[in-house]
């Protein structure tokens, strides 16, 4: 399904905002009050929280395939108190724990390494935990990642992303292990440096979601999977035969050649991985490889 729904044009008025439950209640009290309010009115039409100088408006995409009133996608508005250092994830957690415990999103580590909380924030793929509220214009609009099926609210189906990641033989295949006891393979500092950025991928899916080509071609491996292939193809420990094998996987219709170097993946990557460059380098390697076998 698409997240491109018609947004209600009307801003909530002051009066509406003030009818929202007062602060200083316990979260439970607030919830119960809101639940009553919600049952009296059309769900989702009323902003939650108080609109004033200390709060900002968080517009969150809502959808649940089996709950009355949420089957039609909509946006809910929450007024969240501004705090120093607050991130988009903090704001979502605040809205969930204080206003609406049914608000659903993935999150875990809070430090940009688990890759669970990539959302579409103010029109761009970002990690919720890594995005400061102070860097964004209010209202802050949070939607699930585009081009992926929505499971519920901000949760998208990651299966296709995982399938593509798994399609590139995403595991080290040793070439010639040293025979000595406890002997590691040697790798130069330069070679480790070469693959360093590519190994930082946290599988958040932001790149794939930003890619127009991936949106139109479901078989396209996509930037994350190609980057994974790059990580191994460029690792000298694997040896030349395996490198050739990996380039063959990339050198196909739905591999590297689909990329049209729009740089959208590179622009949204929360780990600053130069994805487009990696794809381009694999294209060059694939061409060289093909020439060699002429």
């Amino acid at each position: 399904m698409s997240t491109q729904i018609q947004e209600e044009a009307d801003e909530p008025t002051e009066t509406e905002a003030e009818t929202a439950p007062a602060e200083r209640q316990s979260p439970g009290d607030r919830r119960r009050a809101e639940k009553r309010t919600a049952s009296d009115q059309a769900v989702g039409s009323e902003p939650v929280g108080r609109a004033d100088d200390d709060t900002f408006r968080l517009k969150v995409f809502r959808y649940d395939p089996e709950v009355e009133g949420k089957m039609e996608p909509r946006f809910d508005d929450f007024y969240v108190p501004r705090e120093k250092g607050m991130t988009v994830l903090d704001a979502l957690i605040y809205a969930r724990d204080h206003y609406d415990t049914t608000l659903t999103f993935r999150h875990s580590c809070r430090q940009a390494v688990c890759g669970s909380d990539a959302f579409f924030v103010n029109g761009r793929q970002r990690l919720g935990c890594q995005t400061q509220i102070s860097d964004l214009e209010a209202p802050i609009r949070v939607e699930p990642l585009p081009h992926q099926d929505v499971v519920k609210d901000l949760v998208v189906d990651m299966e296709h992303f995982y399938d593509q990641m798994h399609a590139v033989e995403p595991f080290f295949q040793e070439d010639d292990l040293p025979s000595g006891d406890l002997e590691e393979q040697r790798q130069s500092r330069e070679n480790r440096e070469k693959i360093k950025m590519s190994t930082r991928c946290i599988w958040c899916g932001a790149c794939m979601s930003s890619c127009n080509i991936a949106a139109g071609d479901n078989e396209y491996l996509g930037p994350a999977a190609i980057n994974k292939a790059y990580r191994f193809a460029m690792d000298d420990r694997e040896g030349d035969d395996l490198k050739q094998h990996r380039l063959n996987i990339m050198d196909q219709e739905h591999g590297v050649w689909r990329c049209q170097t729009q740089f959208s993946c590179t622009n949204v990557c929360p780990k600053d991985i130069p994805l487009t460059e990696h794809i381009q380098e694999l294209k060059r390697e694939a061409v060289k490889q093909n020439l060699k076998f002429w």
Partner: protein
Amino acid sequence: MHEHDVLVIGGGGAGLRAAIAAHEEGADVAIVTKLHPVRSHTGAAEGGINAAIRDGDSWDLHAYDTMKGSDYLGDAPAIETLAQDSPGETVQLEHWGMPFSREDDGRVSQRPFGGLSFPRTTYAGAETGHHLLHTMYEQVVKRGIQVYDEWYVSRLAVTDEDDPSDRQCHGVVAYDIKTGQIEGFKARNGVILATGGLGQVYDHTTNAVANTGDGAAMAYRAGAPLEDMEFIQFHPTTLPSTGVLISEGVRGEGGILYNAEGERFMFEYGYANNAGELASRDVVSRAELTEINEGRGVDDEYVYLDMRHLGEERITDRLENILHLARDFEGVDGLEEPMPVKPGQHYAMGGVETNEHGQTCIDGLYAAGECACVSVHGSNRLGGNALPELIVFGARAGRHAAGTDLGEPEIATGKADEFETEDNLDTPVEPGAVADGGEDESAVADGGERTDGSRVSSDPRSDGGETAVASADDVVRRAVENERTRVEYLIEKDEGIQQAELREKLQKSMTQNVNVFRNEEGLKQALEDIREVREAYQDVYVDDPSRTFNTDLIHTIEMQNLIDLAEAITLGALARDEFRGAHWRQEHQERKDDEWLKHTMLAWDDGTPDLYYKPVILDGEEKTYEPKVRSY
């Protein structure tokens, strides 16, 4: 019903390693995990893996450092196993392609870490855990091991003999988060718990939101005792506003701690005259809080960690991730200014009692990694010893569960008759399950685990006396029924209290009262608060009626685990009236070896927790570790 030889619960470092090991032994193994494996919190580990792989180093030096770091509360057979197996496991990771940092000769890099006599912390930048996790997940994909991801295991299927050591684990019940299906998983050989930490018991923690101690709590309620739960590690360098970890690697590379007066307090106030910033974590955390309490903290809240003098090149080469973390989560440029840091909950030294093969006292139930207590870390874990624990004991549990003979374990599990029982603990409230409410619906809210654990009967008497012992299938099936009843109840109940409110209250009390500095009054206050939360939990309900991705329900079930573990931590802390490792008591300022060279054991005992003690094993393979004064 799903069926496999070995079920691994949790997809972090210990779980992945266990699954690979079981698979290599030919077992049909599956991983059941509430997060996709690459989302696991192993990925947040930064520092490295202690492994004696260089000339001049040896496993017995590693063992000695670990025993000293544990303040003589680790068990020698566990510590020696860790030190002996870590080199092979670490090189194995390299052979699986893990991108370790490299020296000029192409070999993997090692660096100094707190409490180590040799720079043996093997690292991959300041993101070692991320690379370890992804490297092992790659191997799981390579082997085609089945992963049930976003399946939340909420109950163990264990039989209910009176003595936990007679019980048997036949599988688990799991909830498919995406669809709301509740299904049974039968394990022919064994269930390995690898569910990680419990940091969510506290509100300032380096742990992920998912670290709710599920495995430890489920095993506890099923009858496996918890060991040394009072020992919680508070990491000295976490960012004040979020609890995000700043690796010990910063100090390992030469980073310096300053107070608000600009004094290098580790030396100037004599906290650690030799090791300074690289003293053991418990020592540094107490030093920082002492500075803050005595008015020398910055904004009365934190101190500074300065790495600017290391220079941009070295920082970028070895600690680049730290620059990103400080920038993104504290708004500080580590190249230009010192980073604010304070202690934060980081690691649970305690956990489910296991032997060195990962076995608990319940047949077929294993635990490995942070949720387990072998015990390697005793009363204080050394930096760089968590990752080797995952791979060493994960692999051993996987092998053993797959049927490999690892020999006779030296560590015993379960309560022996000769163990000393604690009868004199003065608690302000009764711990354990809320009194049986009979037909009261509250009996369902906490999973009906007040009297019969998370177990179901295999006792013929409960079936009227004529049938034989229930089959494994029956045990799993009945556990599934119980879980379905509970989930239905939680979702259908439409008023009461919500878990978020209870969680906040519990976390605040634990951070206030069961932190780095502890005293009797605070610990008793915590027990009262925990009791209040436990009683309120009887009236908990889930607002979200949806079967699709109901995180409200998951958090509500997790909350039960947080309550049980918070209570276990606090009971142990109140009982142990001495100062050892990470456990500091205001009224008891010395280590009391005559009285306290023993593990604190807590058994659920069907809802009336039984506190007892088990002797520490200080006899190693070749020598006995004599407790010495621990100074750095």
